[in-house]
């Protein structure tokens, strides 16, 4: 049987993953013949790590997903630096900008999204491209452009206080730039944070040297000078990094007459309105998730690979619970589910802890004992735990405060004095010797640490309980003095 001709449009994280998933199921290409068309000149790279590149933690080549030999090794045709000009659904061909025509049995749209530039005066040139000194933070090329422009110490403005904007701001501040974040809403990351959490986050970031101009629009940009804000103030900037949101890349799909809303509308089989065309990742619109995150795209890639290789024709995508994690050095922030529930919500149990001076804010929303929302700022280990509870739908522990505090909770009886220990307390674990056995041995005449060791074997294993045995010997010498008590004290010390 002739393998299915599958054309993947888009060589980003979703498209690359789809190809990997197909080859995992069909290593020899017996069922699916793959062609990937990518607009960028690079091989696929890991967009999630761009903020690490921006922060200087990672070289650009470290984020490449596929090495040069990958396509040959897996029998995939890859065409980078190539635009698709149209999809002809009647004759089932994809036409490339260079004139090549690829016939298909199935198309996978993985065109992703593009940065949205706000209508600030001067931000774009007459062609709609970013003006000199303006860079969107979206691609590896953008990243390299920012790094080339933002010389150390130079003022940089970041337009947009959402997740990516803040990651860029943190990275640039860490490189020594003077960074100002301009955000039109009253608090940062308003989609994922409530106002109180946004305030704590801003305070923490301010301590790392980032300035904020909240609740104000940028009204104009002058290259070499900076931003003019709607309140009349001015933000100096050699460089403006725009991170004001993205829009799904739906041009091809729209031209081909597929159903479009915010993205390309897909069902649980990730099919568009044409069953031969699938869409995955940021360009797709599925009710079970939001765009802008990689995990849904990866899960969707696996489902479409199941379907197109025939590995599992019943595979369906039903959604991905969304957990937002800010990846910025020295800041731990996780947000998930319904974050805006208030303490007086009649149907939900809401627990909140605020410690702004230490950069901590924790909010937990529960329904029927299960976590349905949380904001965890500055409480990393608790965040990890809460995320797992949320992902797995497990009931939360009954002690909600302990959950929110995580490791901050004292871990029980450390440093208890010998007198306070119950007699059943095991002092020497290696030889299962309890305080009671030591007391018995003492009363039977073992009046020194070494005599106690001979009598009970306490401290003869790893030796780590020697101090504890000394302590008990000293305590016994005080409370149970005998003719040899003074000797015991001396030996023990």
């Amino acid at each position: 049987m002739r393998p299915q001709q599958v054309v993947v449009i888009g060589y980003g994280m979703a498209g690359a993953r789809f190809a990997e998933e197909v080859r995992r199921r069909d290593p020899a290409g017996e069922r699916v013949s793959l062609t990937i068309v990518g607009e960028e000149t690079h091989a696929a790279y890991n967009r999630v790590l761009l903020s690490s590149v921006l922060a200087g933690a990672m070289a650009t080549d470290a984020v490449t997903l596929h090495d040069g030999a990958w396509a040959d090794r897996y029998g995939v045709t890859v065409r980078t630096g190539t635009r698709v000009s149209r999809i002809d659904r009647v004759v089932r061909t994809v036409t490339l900008a260079d004139g090549d025509v690829l016939p298909y049995d199935a198309v996978v749209l993985a065109t992703g999204s593009r940065a949205w530039l706000p209508p600030t005066e001067g931000l774009c040139d007459e062609n709609g491209e970013p003006a000199p000194g303006v860079v969107a933070f979206r691609t590896l090329d953008d990243c390299e452009r920012i790094l080339a422009t933002a010389r150390p110490g130079a003022p940089v403005a970041v337009l947009g206080g959402g997740l990516l904007g803040l990651e860029a701001a943190r990275g640039l501040a860490g490189r020594g730039n003077r960074v100002t974040v301009v955000h039109p809403v009253g608090h940062l990351m308003e989609r994922q944070l409530d106002p109180a959490a946004g305030r704590v986050l801003a305070r923490t970031l301010a301590q790392l040297g980032i300035e904020f101009r909240l609740n104000v629009l940028a009204s104009g940009y002058v290259p070499g000078d900076g931003l003019k804000l709607a309140d009349g103030s001015h933000v100096p900037a050699d460089l403006v990094v725009v991170s004001a949101g993205v829009r799904a890349e739906t041009g091809l799909a729209g031209d081909a007459g597929l159903t479009i809303d915010r993205g390309v509308v897909v069902d649980d089989a990730l099919r568009t309105s044409d069953p031969r065309i699938h869409a995955i990742g940021d360009c797709a619109q599925h009710p079970g998730t939001i765009s802008g995150l990689v995990q849904p795209g990866w899960e969707q890639a696996a489902v479409v690979a199941d379907l197109l290789t025939g590995a599992d024709s019943a595979a369906r995508y039903t959604g991905t619970p969304v957990v937002t994690r800010l990846k910025a050095r020295d800041i731990d922030l996780a947000a998930l589910g319904e974050v805006h529930a208030e303490l007086d919500d009649p149907d939900a149990e809401v627990v909140r802890l605020e410690d702004p001076a230490r950069g901590r804010y924790a909010k937990l929303v529960l329904r029927d004992d299960k976590v349905t929302g949380a904001i965890m700022l500055g409480t990393p280990d608790a965040a990890a735990m809460v995320t797992q509870l949320y992902d797995r739908g497990m009931p939360a522990p009954s002690d909600r405060l302990a959950l929110l505090l995580g490791r901050a909770l004292p871990s029980g009886a450390t440093g208890a004095s010998p007198a306070d220990l119950p007699s059943s307390a095991v002092i020497c674990r290696c030889n299962t010797v309890s305080k009671g056995q030591l007391m018995t041995a003492w009363r039977a005449g073992a009046r020194s640490v070494s005599a106690l060791a001979d009598a009970t074997r306490a401290s003869t294993g790893c030796g780590s309980c020697r101090e504890a045995v000394c302590g008990i010997a000293q305590w016994l010498a005080e409370v149970d003095p005998d003719q040899d008590a003074a000797t015991a004290g001396r030996t023990a010390s």
């Binding site: 470290a62 995990q295 731990d332 871990s411 290696c430 790893c462």
Partner: protein
């Protein structure tokens, strides 16, 4: 039942503990007919002993000691004592019948990681030469196989610790993955003291164990997610600028390919899979990277998974990324478990191996070993089934019809234990050599009473690849024979020349030297004389004037090009994820007072009193949701079976995890629930994670 001990008066014998791979030094002396244990200063234990070691002599005089062969000619009849001749004649006759009717592979052998090197060697030779069966494997498959596979893949060689254990004394930082040394080999903890005191011990374990309590940082991943954690930490090494570029270019291959995978496991993503915060992953990496002397150590928690070989490889990858292996004062090591867990995997009781860590499908290896054995290489069988596959096949259409067991108790220690017991019952012949009536021996048609550690001579190879001599300290009870004797008796009855299966351990060792010569684990330069002189010989020891090799890899790794190879491994998760019917994860492990299947330690009164029965550790909320409270009897139910265990409420447990120790018998066997999903490379079963539910035992409902 046991004869009184006859001992040479007031002699003190320098020996080693019968239990774990630390092989603590001890002296045995006899006073008034009973044997007394005294700790001895030896590098591994420095004069320390745990409760198991202190009480080890009690097994010598246990009331249940076997001193006569037992035989039953029909399963309905109870076994009755018979003479050795009758027992061995019967076994021989049955082996002949079965092999005549069903072929050579219809008879199988199952060995153990507690057997001496000499026994290991003789067992493998007996299988290939006297029985000519390919069907031989051993319980070490359940312990060391994943780390062994990983070591061979990455370094080109497998020696648990490629450095003396005392090197750890100078460590500033130690990452211990899936090991609870404070309970499993307590005197070992001394070697971590400096790291503990400097705040440099990092422990990775789903439970807050006694070892984790001592750590500056305890990472508590969900069971079955260790590989993801290793990838996340490797990612952090790169992202946080700790990668040792010079080391990687000078001493390794394959970093790029491995990085393509690790690049996709940024710590925040790993956090979601493992439950270990990204901050903790980074902190652990920072601790290792900043140390002068740092080590990564793995144990069964990382290895006993259906992805165990890949998981162990991933931890070695981390060590390589930090530039640790092969540098003095740092490295990677695996903590071997059983007494002879190292030697036991080197000399031929493994299905795919010949002595000297040679591969049975390597023509040169076959030729060399066949020449030592005086047989035609073409007559040597090929590789056989791995341990669980062997047990699973017993009594089946294509499987063996007879099994001879030495030094193992698979009814308790194998995964899916009820099924294993069924397979044993389906055999035409089960022969068990042991010194007590273990749970496996109880099922046997023939039980052969054999000597134990203090009653016989032999060598073992400890966790650091050092060969140790354990000499006979006391006379065995009348009526028992050594395993070497048993093999000799069977081999000669099967028509083998008597000199081909010597009963004297030193004679066997001399042959082992020749057989291992030129192999990976080369013992040819080791003599008992050198061992008696107290020489510290770590293999390879290729000549009698060779000082041994305490530290491997200082100049080169064991691959032909001398470089270590990063393994491009990816996370795949537990073979059996939790679901609505089985919502919890069960993990299994050990307690300080018991060893392996407990056949020995449950017979020591002091140990049995300290921990008399099985238990299940569970978070208080999880217990309450199951309607259980501290001290109540619970049923831990999986798709394969149910274990009964008393509830211990432990607030530090993860909500999704329960823990069972596996040393107990009958309906308390943890292995009634475990999952026999096997690692594709090492054939290790997934002991460390399976899906279960928890419910009150009948009569305990509240």
């Amino acid at each position: 039942m046991a004869e009184p001990l006859t001992t040479s008066a007031l002699t003190i014998t320098k020996t080693h503990c019968p239990y774990c791979a630390l092989q603590c030094g001890m002296n045995l002396s006899s006073e008034g007919g009973s044997v007394v244990v005294q700790p001895r200063d030896f590098p591994t234990n420095r004069g320390g002993l745990c409760q198991k070691g202190w009480t080890s002599a009690a097994v010598l005089t246990t009331p249940g000691r076997l001193t006569q062969p037992l035989l039953r000619r029909s399963r309905e009849a109870p076994p009755h004592p018979v003479s050795w001749d009758e027992a061995l004649d019967y076994v021989t006759e049955r082996i002949r019948d079965i092999q005549r009717q069903r072929g050579l592979d219809a008879v199988a052998l199952f060995g153990g990681g507690g057997l001496t090197n000499e026994k290991t060697y003789a067992l493998g030779k007996f299988a290939r030469v006297a029985l000519r069966t390919s069907q031989v494997d051993y319980n070490g498959r359940f312990c060391m196989s994943s780390a062994a596979a990983a070591g061979i893949r990455v370094f080109g060689i497998d020696r648990g610790l490629p450095f003396p254990v005392t090197d750890l004394d100078d460590a500033d930082a130690v990452l211990l993955v899936g090991g609870n040394v404070a309970e499993t080999m307590p005197p070992f903890s001394q070697h971590l003291r400096r790291a503990v005191d400097l705040g440099g011990l990092v422990v990775i374990d789903p439970r807050r164990t006694a070892t984790a309590e001592q750590a500056a940082l305890h990472l508590q991943p969900a069971p079955g997610t260790d590989l993801a954690l290793a990838l996340g930490m490797l990612h952090a090494v790169v992202a946080d600028g700790h990668l040792d570029h010079d080391y990687i270019s000078a001493r390794t291959n394959g970093f790029e390919e491995m990085w393509r995978i690790a690049a996709q496991w940024w710590p925040e993503r790993v956090e979601r899979v493992t439950g270990v915060s990204a901050a903790d992953q980074r902190a652990a990496v920072r601790l290792l990277a900043r140390a002068h002397n740092a080590y990564v150590l793995t144990a069964r928690g990382a290895e006993q998974h259906a992805s165990g070989a890949d998981t162990a490889s991933a931890w070695i990858n981390l060590a390589l990324a930090l530039g640790l292996p092969g540098r003095p004062g740092s490295g990677y090591g695996c903590l071997t478990g059983q007494g002879n867990g190292q030697g036991g995997r080197e000399h031929g009781q493994k299905a795919d191996q010949l002595p000297g860590y040679r591969k049975i499908d390597d023509p040169a290896a076959r030729e060399h070993v066949a020449a030592v054995w005086g047989v035609d290489p073409a007559e040597l069988p090929g590789p056989g089934r791995s341990a669980y596959e062997l047990l699973d096949a017993l009594g089946g259409a294509d499987g063996p019809r007879a099994l001879l067991v030495f030094g193992s108790n698979p009814v308790v220690s194998a995964p899916r234990a009820a099924h294993v017991a069924e397979r044993l019952a389906a055999l035409d012949l089960l022969v068990v050599a042991d010194f007590v009536l273990s749970e496996t021996a109880e099922l046997a048609d023939v039980v052969l009473p054999v000597t134990q550690w203090a009653e016989e001579d032999g060598t073992l190879t400890n966790l650091e690849g050092r060969i140790l001599l354990r000499e006979r300290a006391i006379e065995p009870p009348q009526g028992v024979r050594s395993d070497l004797d048993v093999l000799h008796g069977l081999a000669t009855r099967l028509g083998q020349p008597a000199e081909r299966f010597p009963t004297d351990a030193e004679t066997v060792f001399e042959e082992l030297r020749r057989a291992s010569a030129g192999g990976v684990a080369d013992y040819s330069g080791v003599s008992w004389e050198r061992l008696r002189d107290g020489e510290q010989l770590h293999w390879p020891v290729p000549a009698v004037d060779h000082p041994g090799t305490p530290r491997l890899f200082l100049d080169r790794f064991a691959h032909p090009d001398g470089r270590a190879r990063f393994a491009a491994v990816n996370h795949r998760g537990p073979a059996e994820p939790p679901d609505a019917d089985f919502p919890l994860l069960a993990t299994t492990g050990r307690v300080l007072q018991h060893y392996q299947s407990g056949a020995q330690t449950r017979r020591v009164a002091e140990l049995a009193k300290a921990v008399p029965e099985s238990y299940v550790e569970v978070h208080p909320d999880t217990a309450a949701r199951a309607g259980l409270a501290e001290g109540q009897l619970s049923r831990v139910v999986s798709r394969r079976g149910t274990a009964v265990a008393r509830v211990r409420v432990v607030p530090s447990m993860r909500l999704d995890t329960v823990f069972l120790p596996f040393h107990f018998a009958g309906d308390q066997r943890a292995n009634l629930v475990t999952n026999p999903a096997l690692d594709p490379i090492s054939r290790m079963p997934e002991f460390k994670v399976c899906a279960v539910r928890l419910e009150p035992a009948p009569g305990e409902e509240s």
